[in-house]
């Protein structure tokens, strides 16, 4: 082992000036931050932060426009899910977190619909492959949310009704080539 010993200069070996320097830095931070903390109490200088802390459940970091968050199912104008239960997302999912039970749709043009559509976020790895695989743009990951903690595993399985209620993040940018909302992909069945 190589031990490097650095000789202190005379001024440094007195400790006093170095300690005073250090105390000056911390005292300056203290006074500055206290000033803004007190100003915030009176509603002044709200735009200047007094601390770098983000108090997570109450405040959240704004996410990027292209950030993949929780899943969402797009709906048709009548409110039913766009999903046609083709099982492509369930197949492509690398961690098998999507479970779809298909049922026969009354409209013969549509053929199938999901009786249940569960996303198990305890398994999800947010790869976004389901979004890419979907031929009818039914599943999107543009809510900008992270899963909230739950008291049981069942709390962390998102069902069809929940996924339908979610809304996209405003100004979500689906890809680099199509800024903004971007047009939806062509729907092969004209729906």
């Amino acid at each position: 082992m190589k031990i490097v010993t650095q000789k202190l200069t005379t001024k440094e070996s007195l400790y006093f000036f170095e300690i005073a320097k250090g105390l000056w830095i911390t005292a300056r931070h203290f006074v500055k931050n206290m000033y803004f903390h007190i100003a915030h109490l009176y509603g002044k200088y709200q735009e200047v932060p007094a601390a770098v802390t983000i108090q997570y459940p109450e405040e959240k970091i704004p996410v990027s426009k292209r950030w993949r968050g929780n899943h969402r199912i797009n709906s048709r104008p009548d409110g039913s899910p766009r999903c046609v239960a083709c099982m492509l997302c369930e197949t492509v999912c690398p961690v098998q977190c999507i479970h779809i039970i298909a049922g026969e749709h009354p409209d013969p043009n549509i053929e199938k619909y999901p009786v249940s559509f569960d996303v198990d976020v305890t398994r999800c790895c947010w790869c976004g492959m389901c979004e890419e695989a979907c031929p009818v743009d039914a599943i999107y990951m543009d809510t900008g949310k992270t899963p909230e903690p739950g008291y049981s595993r069942e709390d962390l399985v998102y069902h069809k009704e929940q996924l339908l209620k979610e809304t996209p993040l405003p100004n979500y940018q689906r890809s680099l080539n199509t800024p903004g909302q971007g047009p939806m992909k062509a729907n092969p069945m004209g729906l």
Binding site: Y15, F16, I19, G22, L23, I25, T26, A27, H29, F30, N33, M34, H37, A50, A51, V52, T53, Q55
Partner: protein, 359 residues
């Protein structure tokens, strides 16, 4: 006779109420102040019925936690001594405040009430003696735990405390020489004089080097950063490894009480005690120019408030030091104590003596 006892009891209630409350609030202030210094927010989550008041419930929550935890005594250890040690830590830290004057003599209803619990004529020796007794709690805690690492930790702590005790005592000698008394009330009164008619003759003016030495040694006596090798909660096994629950909490609170006590002693010896510059027992005055008379009770109240503010300032300053400096290595600590502090303290005595001889 009875009235004297009642007055003394009231003074004890006021002083110890102040010390204990400040010590409890310091446990919150330490987290909060370190957070503000480091651009964070700090403890603010404990709430009662939705009220958080900046996290001020945290000391209460901590106390409830400590009181309800299991109180474990090592089966092979000495249960009696093991229980006594934290009490000793609390007691020695608290009792120092008995001799610190916190205000001028109050003349009320034909009575002279000295604002000091016990006007001992050996005030400074009392402080040094109880500061020295404090390390018994450390040694007893380590010894009675029947744990060799605790014992080693306590011996290390004792070695540190004894080393710095020496520098502490020697640095006070300068003050005793300058003011010619070891009675704290006399020292506080003597600090009401003025050099050249307008510079307050406080201890820091008369003994700048003595103040630095005393403050450094006093921080070492409180076992806080940069001299926190005895405890260093997270890294080194210290003397209270085998303590749990409120006994651990007593050591923890004892440390904060020591902070308040050191702040009180520093104020009394070096920062004019209860003196306010340019306020004497007549009112506000400027030497040779004018005097604005004030009622006696108001002046005394102002002086008590000034003493409290000075103590709070030094508590703040010690927290600032604690959250700024890194810890000494043990050999550095010993070398600093013996090869730097003690010779400087002796030099301080010599220089003080020369000055007193010449002028």
């Amino acid at each position: 006779m009875y009235l004297d006892i009642i007055i003394t009891l009231i003074k004890i209630a006021i002083v110890f109420g102040f010390v204990l409350n400040v010590a409890a609030i310091l446990s919150w202030a330490e987290r909060k102040q370190s957070a503000v210094m480091q651009d964070r927010i700090g403890a603010n989550r404990a709430d009662v019925l939705g009220f958080r008041i900046f996290g001020l419930f945290h000391p209460i929550a901590d106390t409830i936690k400590m009181l309800t935890k299991e109180d474990w005594v090592p089966p092979a250890g000495d249960a009696f001594v093991h229980t006594m040690a934290p009490f000793l830590a609390l007691f020695t830290a608290l009792v120092v405040f008995a001799v610190i004057p916190f205000g001028d003599t109050l003349h009320i209803a034909g009575r002279d009430i000295p604002l000091q619990i016990a006007d001992l004529n050996v005030g400074i020796l009392f402080i040094v003696a109880f500061g020295g007794l404090g390390f018994y709690s450390v040694v007893l805690a380590g010894w009675s735990s029947e744990n060799k690492y605790s014992l080693l930790g306590s011996l290390r702590a004792a070695a540190q405390l004894i080393s710095y005790e020496l520098a502490l005592g020697l640095s006070i000698v300068g003050i005793v020489m300058v003011y010619g008394s070891i009675e704290l009330d006399d020292i506080a009164r003597a600090q009401g004089q003025y050099i050249l008619g307008f510079i307050p003759y406080w201890g820091i003016i008369a003994q700048p080097l003595g103040f630095l030495l005393f403050f450094t040694a006093a921080v070492a006596e409180t076992k806080r950063v940069p001299f926190d090798l005895p405890e260093s909660e997270s890294e080194i096994i210290g003397y209270f490894t085998e303590y749990s629950g409120m006994k651990f909490g007593a050591f923890w609170m004892g440390e904060f009480i020591e902070v308040v006590a050191v702040a009180g002693v520093v104020t009394a010896l070096y920062f004019g005690g209860w003196q306010i510059p340019f306020v004497n027992n007549q009112g506000i005055f400027f030497p040779g120019l004018f005097t604005i008379p004030l009622p006696h009770v108001l002046i005394v109240l102002l002086q008590v408030a000034a003493f409290g503010l000075k103590v709070l300032f030094f508590c703040w300053f010690m927290l600032l030091v604690r959250w700024t400096l890194p810890r000494f290595r043990y050999d550095q600590l010993m070398a600093f104590g013996w090869k730097f502090m003690v010779p400087l303290a002796l030099l301080n005595i010599l220089v003080t003596g020369l000055f007193m001889y010449v002028f």
